[in-house]
Amino acid sequence: MVERPLTHTLAATFAALDDLAQRDANARAHAQAQQRIAFLRDRLHALQSALRQLRVAVTLVQHIDPAHEITALWSNTCAELKACAPGTLHAPGRALAEGHLDLLQLVEYTAASVAIVRERYHWVTDQLARHPRVVALDRVSCACDARRAAIDTLVSRLASAKEPWNGEGALRSLEALLSGAMPEEKRKDNA
């Protein structure tokens, strides 16, 4: 049996209901922010991966042909990306919580950076696949696309390798990859 006026008990009930509603709103916002974090993190992971691949591809070119004009591409790319990086990249909390323009800039930057890096990487690997030295490694005379696929495979391995690698070893691996890419009938003919 309550010992206070019924208006008080009702007011207390309403306050408790308000509090519960507020907590509910907070919880919903929190859940949305977590989703944004996960989205942005995936984009940054993709950028990081693309950068590593580009760096490895450029290094391979430098080893094969140190005088190749492509060798400056890596440093130019890094400089461009650093230059256009938004200010909230290093402290994205507010942009993630509020979800306004800052968050859009972050998303746009990461998405555009990934596109640029991947485009350049493809150009580098194309050049590499046409390089005479690489062609020379191709003893089975594969098509250019096959060589590019072998180079992609090699780059991916090297980019994810934790130990340092050398150019000759990489070329031997490429040669092995290229011989592995030979079609079966051609391999019989060679034999």
Partner: protein
């Protein structure tokens, strides 16, 4: 004791012989009374008369056949002694000899030799030779003894063992010589006794053949040997002749222009010969006989069928021409009752050897009936019995009424009393007014029964030398009061009423087994129930139709009555009480009247000699039995009387339904729909769960107890019987009664033989909830319960005190908001909530103030009660009823509902709303994001 007689014993024996054949023709015709009622079962002759004919018509039917018609058979069926011989004899004497040749074979003529001899007489000297006529007698004797030996092996009794030894005796030369001598005598037409007719012949023969025979078996063996030789003679010598003799007689008679009329008195007496005769007659084309055959009823049903080759009584009946029946299904001769006096008069006239002088015999005896009167003869005739069954036949009447009385030295009434064939009529008068047993006998047989007295002409008593009662020495009419008044018509009284009264009087006089005691019990039951049912334990003064009562229901619907004096009844037991009737001499007249009351179905005022005395006797037995029934219940109920039980149960129920009373009971019904138990009960399901549940079970018997109360404590539906109320209040110490009821052992009461009428409920079914409720009451801690009530009141008072500052406008707004908020969080709103919210919304400050004041007042009163020394459950119930307006005020229910709504809203919100928010930058995903960002930046920086 002698009295004037006008006959001698020899004459009586001559006239009253039952064998018609033994009477001379003249005597026969003097005593013969025409048969006026002979039932014709069927008759194949055209133009046969109706269901009943007289003897003339029977004769016309029998003699109505054409001369050359085939055999015509007629059965005359009746009980033994019903007049079959008489009819045959009359037919012989009166047959038209121009058309018939009567051949009467009487009952006494049962051997084949006699019958053949009789038949040969009818053939005169021109009879053909018998089959064995040319055989020497010694050879015939050998043939007969050999037949007897064959019969011994086939039909011998155990006493005739070893059979081989007895066969040597039977077939020995001594017996052959004896049989030869018997045949020689027969051939000469002389009397020839059967072998072993003289028992003394057997002993030397047995000695000669070394056959030990004890003297005890001598008669049995002699009789059996005689039977064997008789059958052997019959089979060997005579039976073969019968058929040819009958054929010869038939042909000869027809040649004379007459049909032979064979009158066979009694078929029952014949054995092999009877079968042969019947076979001959049933072969309808074998001759031209008119055969009248007497058959007893039982013999026809059981024996006659097997006597034919077909073995079927129907086979015989199909060949009958007609079947005449002399007695009805009860063994009474048709028409004899009407002709009884004339029959007696004819025989008495024939018996009389001297005519009394004028005025020597009082005319009160009737013309020619001395020493009987018409009343005595008819009464004696009605009392004729044979082998335990009533049997009214002429033979029994002549032998055991007329002859027995005339031959006795004692006057007829005393002779009647001694006769084993007469069951004396019951004594219908007060024997204390006629103490002389001879006078009692005379009154029983000769007395005239009036409505209130039995009368007798004093001249009859004087004639028999019997003195009239001392109180009326010179009265011309002896008058003795009846034991009861016999107003009803005789036709309304059961037929065996005399037998019933005889049994009652024998029991009253000597005690012992009383077979017809159910009749007396019905009479006793009737007079007791006239005062009300003593098994009903209600108020006899209550005239309310709504009343019910506790009823002792052991046994069936009949009132259990025990007749003492070793009548054969089972006495009362501690659990099966009965009305005790000891049958003392003082009760004799009353009990006789009650037995007749049951037999007649009449009213008490029509039967009872003194209704007041009878009712007084009944009232004493009623009271005694009613007290026994009450005491039995009292003992089984731990010393609670039936009135205390009903009074206490009604008081408990009154309190249960919110209408408590202490000294002046009410009779209000209870309507559960209008007043739910939870509202009217003093008990709370939370605070007093045991009392609440037990009370809920008991309340279903409210109407039962109300009707019991009306049946016990009211005069009419709404008029209390203050005397009975005051009486039970004086005895009543309710605490004790409740305590006793609480300690009832229910399993032991399961077989309690009491019901509640007219509701058809068992008392046990009421006692179960009553015991449980009283037990709950006795186990209730009233002080603790009262303290709990005070605590509750204190909480309520505090709550109400807080509400005195309630902002009603805000409260009303909040109630509206509450509904909206419930919708917001998704708590479903229901109708009950609406009512509560509306009620609270309309609550005024004045209402709250008034309720607050009431609570304070009740709390003060209850607190005062708590300080009282004695607080029993009645006082506590009163306190609870005082609390009911507070406890059941709608405010509390509305507040409880309001709390329920709030709780429901909060619970729904908690279930629906999400939780778990916190700082985003502190989460692991955010830290991983920063780590990746730094790695990218480092890559860019390195480039």
């Amino acid at each position: 004791m002698r009295y004037p007689k006008y006959w001698d014993q020899a004459r009586v024996r001559q006239v009253c012989t039952t064998e018609s054949r033994q009477k001379a023709r003249d005597l026969f015709l003097r005593t013969h009374r025409p048969f006026q009622h002979i039932r014709v079962d069927f008759c194949k002759d055209d133009g046969a008369p109706g269901a009943f004919v007289n003897e003339e018509q029977v004769r016309a039917i029998v003699q109505g056949g054409a001369l050359r018609a085939d055999n015509r058979l007629f059965f005359v069926v009746g009980e033994a002694g019903s007049g079959k011989s008489e009819l045959c004899q009359w037919l012989e004497y009166t047959a038209d000899e121009r058309r018939s040749l009567p051949i009467h074979i009487p009952r006494s003529m049962t051997t084949a030799a006699h019958v053949v001899a009789l038949l040969r007489q009818k053939l005169d000297s021109a009879a053909p030779a018998r089959a064995l006529q040319h055989v020497p007698l010694s050879t015939q004797a050998d043939y007969v003894t050999l037949s007897a030996v064959v019969l011994l092996y086939g039909q011998g009794i155990p006493a005739l063992t070893p059979v081989d030894s007895w066969a040597q005796l039977i077939g020995g030369h001594e017996m052959r010589q004896f049989v030869a001598g018997h045949l020689a005598l027969l051939a000469r037409g002389e009397f020839a006794p059967l072998p072993f007719a003289d028992p003394s012949l057997l002993e030397p023969l047995c000695h000669r053949y070394a056959l030990p025979v004890s003297s005890a078996d001598l008669a049995l063996i002699t009789g059996e040997l005689r039977r064997l030789f008789a059958r052997a003679l019959e089979q060997a010598l005579w039976s073969g002749d019968v058929r040819s003799l009958l054929a010869d007689i038939s042909e000869r008679a027809v040649r004379q222009g007459r049909r032979p009329l064979l009158l066979l008195e009694d078929m029952t007496a014949f054995q092999v010969l009877g079968d042969r005769l019947l076979d001959y007659l049933l072969d309808l084309t074998s001759g031209h006989f008119d055969a009248v055959i007497g058959v007893t009823t039982g013999f026809e049903r059981t024996q006659l069928a097997s006597a034919t080759l077909a073995g079927d009584l129907t086979h015989i009946h199909h060949r009958l021409r007609a079947r005449f029946v002399l007695t009805d299904d009860h063994g009474r001769s048709y028409g004899l009752e009407d002709d009884l006096i004339e029959l007696a008069r004819a025989y008495l006239a024939a018996v009389r050897t001297a005519e009394p002088s004028d005025h020597a015999v009082p005319d009160v005896f009737g013309d020619g009936l001395y020493p009987f009167t018409e009343t005595a003869l008819r009464r004696a005739f009605a009392c004729l019995h044979e082998e335990g069954n009533p049997r009214q036949t002429p033979r029994l009447f002549l032998e055991h009424i007329l002859a027995a009385a005339l031959l006795s030295d004692a006057p007829p009434p005393l002779a009647f009393d001694r006769s084993p064939y007469l069951v004396p009529p019951p004594t219908l008068f007060r024997i204390d007014e006629a103490p002389d047993p001879r006078l009692q006998s005379l009154l029983r047989w000769y007395g005239e029964f009036g409505d209130d007295a039995v009368t007798l002409d004093a001249r009859i008593a004087r004639r028999f030398g019997i003195a009239p009662p001392a109180a009326q020495p010179a009265n011309p009419v002896i008058r003795v009061s009846r034991a009861y008044m016999a107003q009803p018509l005789d036709s309304d009284v059961r037929a065996d009423w005399q037998q019933e009264l005889r049994e009652l009087q024998a029991w009253l006089s000597d005690g012992g087994l009383y077979p017809g005691r159910e009749t007396l019990k019905r009479g006793i039951e009737r007079v007791l129930l006239h005062l009300g049912d003593p098994r009903a334990l209600g108020s006899s003064d209550s005239s309310s139709l709504a009343g019910a009562h506790i009823y002792y229901a052991r046994g069936d619907e009949r009132l259990p009555i025990y007749l003492g004096r070793e009548s054969g009844d089972q006495p009362s037991t501690p659990t099966y009480v009965k009305v005790q009737v000891s049958g003392t001499s003082a009760e004799r007249g009353i009990l006789e009247a009650l037995a007749y009351l049951a037999l007649s179905g009449a009213e008490m005022s029509q039967v009872c000699h003194n209704v007041a005395l009878t009712l007084d006797w009944a009232q004493r037995h009623w009271d005694a039995y009613n007290n026994e029934v009450r005491t039995l219940l009292f003992n089984r109920m731990n010393g609670v009387t039936v009135e205390q039980l009903i009074w206490t149960a009604w008081r408990l129920l009154g309190s249960l339904v919110g209408a408590p009373w202490d000294s002046r009971p009410h009779l209000n019904p209870y309507h559960a729909n209008a007043e739910p138990y939870a509202q009217v009960s003093p008990w709370s399901p939370q605070q007093h769960p045991v009392c609440y549940t037990a009370g809920e079970m008991l309340i279903t018997y409210h109407e039962t107890v109300r009707r019991l109360f009306i049946g016990s404590f009211t005069l009419r539906d709404t008029l209390l019987d203050h005397d009975r109320c005051a009486a039970v209040q004086q005895l009543e110490t309710t605490a004790t009664t409740v305590d006793r009821l609480a300690h009832l052992a229910l399993p032991a009461l399961r077989t309690l033989p009491y019901t509640i009428r007219p509701l058809g409920q068992k008392l046990y079914d009421l006692l179960v909830p009553l015991q449980r409720y009283t037990q709950a009451l006795t186990q209730l801690d009233c002080q603790a319960a009262l303290r709990a009530d005070l605590d509750d009141l204190a909480r309520k008072e505090t709550h109400l005190a807080a509400q005195q500052r309630l902002d009603h406008a805000l409260f009303q707004q909040q109630l509206l908001t509450l509904r909206w908020r419930c919708g917001e969080v998704g708590a479903p709103w229901n109708e009950r909530w609406t009512k509560a919210a509306e009620w609270l919304g309309s609550l005024t400050r004045e209402q709250l103030t008034e309720l607050y004041a009431d609570v304070r007042r009740v709390r003060s009163a209850t607190a005062a009660l708590a300080h009282a020394e004695a607080l029993d459950h009645w006082a506590y119930q009163r306190a609870r009823h005082a609390l009911r307006p507070i406890l059941h005020h709608p405010y509390w229910a509305a507040v409880a509902t309001l709390q329920e709504i709030q709780a429901e809203a909060l619970a729904t919100a908690r279930a629906r709303y999400q939780r778990g928010s916190g700082l985003m930058t502190g989460t692991a995903p955010y830290r991983q994001l920063l780590k990746v960002t730094r790695a990218v930046w480092k890559e860019l920086a390195d480039g």
